[in-house]
């Protein structure tokens, strides 16, 4: 089977990095932090 080109892998990695930056600028990390610090209680089946 033909191998996937390394340059394309690097490009996909960079695309992921760009999405992380875009999400961060949109306040996504703050939302993740708030969500992770409140006790959501899904783990005991309650919300």
């Amino acid at each position: 089977m033909k191998k996937f080109p390394i340059a394309a892998t690097v490009a996909i990695f960079m695309l992921g990095a760009a999405l992380i930056v875009a999400g961060g600028l949109g306040g996504e990390f703050r939302a993740i932090f708030l969500n992770a610090t409140i006790l959501c209680l899904s783990c005991i089946g309650v919300q």
């Binding site: 690097v10 992921g16 992380i20 996504e28 993740i32 783990c43 089946g45």
Partner: protein
């Protein structure tokens, strides 16, 4: 136990401790590479599946979490399943309890894509609730049971769903004794996300032509696959246990880390020390 396997053991223990080290809770903005419930009283980072569902149900387009999956997947494929997942490690330890394993084909791996699409994407969007979290056995083990044991108020609000979750955890534990890493192979939505990246990731498995196809690699493989059938298939968790055979190697960005076809034992004899 080979050197790679010993290293992987240390990394798995280290990853479980780091993700649940209690201090540095300021890191909870950062998703971990593996399934690790952020409601665990010791957790310091965010579970990527929990974060994804909660962002979806709150109406966010989850760009950063998607980017995290894409970048990590492009770099190492499913290696985080094999090297950094505490629940995967628990399953491997449980697997050591049962000598006689029930063989289940990896063909049923499509189930985890259905679980991803339904419980982690569609239902959180429709019902505005993190449905996968409500069923996740890793969450029950790492957070549900410890919280119920530690907090009387939480014990008082426990309902039937908690006991369903405990039942699912018991089923997952029982299955892990009988079948190799069953949750990772057939259920885990995070594994489903990383799986397609195995084919394109910078970290790749290589099989040399001197492979004799003896299937000894399948016997020691934690996900029950023959590496020569598809070294970069979505089922592989990149644990590198099969590199004990000199016909199997690993490359990163095209550079050989472990050379496939190097001098050394091949086939069954190569794995004798790992059994």
């Amino acid at each position: 136990m080979g050197n790679t396997e010993r290293l992987r053991n240390y990394v798995q223990i280290g990853a479980a401790v780091l993700q649940n080290s209690y201090f540095f809770k300021g890191l909870k903005f950062c998703p971990t590479p593996s399934l690790n419930c952020y409601a665990c009283p010791l957790a310091v980072t965010a579970c990527p599946m929990g974060s994804l569902q909660n962002l979806i149900l709150k109406g966010y387009l989850p760009l950063a979490v998607t980017g995290f999956f894409v970048s990590l997947g492009a770099a190492v494929g499913r290696a985080s399943c094999g090297w950094a997942c505490p629940f995967g490690y628990v399953q491997e330890l449980l697997g050591k309890l049962g000598r006689k394993k029930v063989r289940v084909s990896n063909e049923y791996g499509w189930l985890r894509y259905v679980i991803l699409a339904v419980t982690a994407l569609a239902l959180p969007f429709i019902l505005k609730s993190p449905i996968f979290c409500k069923l996740c056995p890793a969450g029950t083990l790492e957070a549900g049971i410890p919280l119920a044991l530690l907090d009387e108020e939480i014990r008082e609000i426990i309902g039937p769903l908690f006991w369903l979750k405990v039942g699912l955890l018991v089923a997952a534990v029982w299955a892990a004794v009988k079948i190799k890493r069953p949750f990772c192979r057939f259920v885990c939505p995070l594994g489903a996300i990383y799986s397609p990246f195995n084919r394109i990731s910078a970290l790749r498995m290589e099989v040399h032509g001197k492979c004799v196809r003896c299937d000894a690699c399948k016997e020691i493989c934690p996900v029950d696959m023959s590496i020569y059938e598809g070294p970069n298939s979505g089922a592989c968790i990149r644990c590198m246990k099969c590199t004990g055979c000199s016909a199997v190697g690993v490359s990163f960005l095209g550079k050989e880390i472990i050379k496939a076809g190097r001098e050394g034992r091949i086939g069954r004899a190569a794995y004798d020390r790992q059994r």
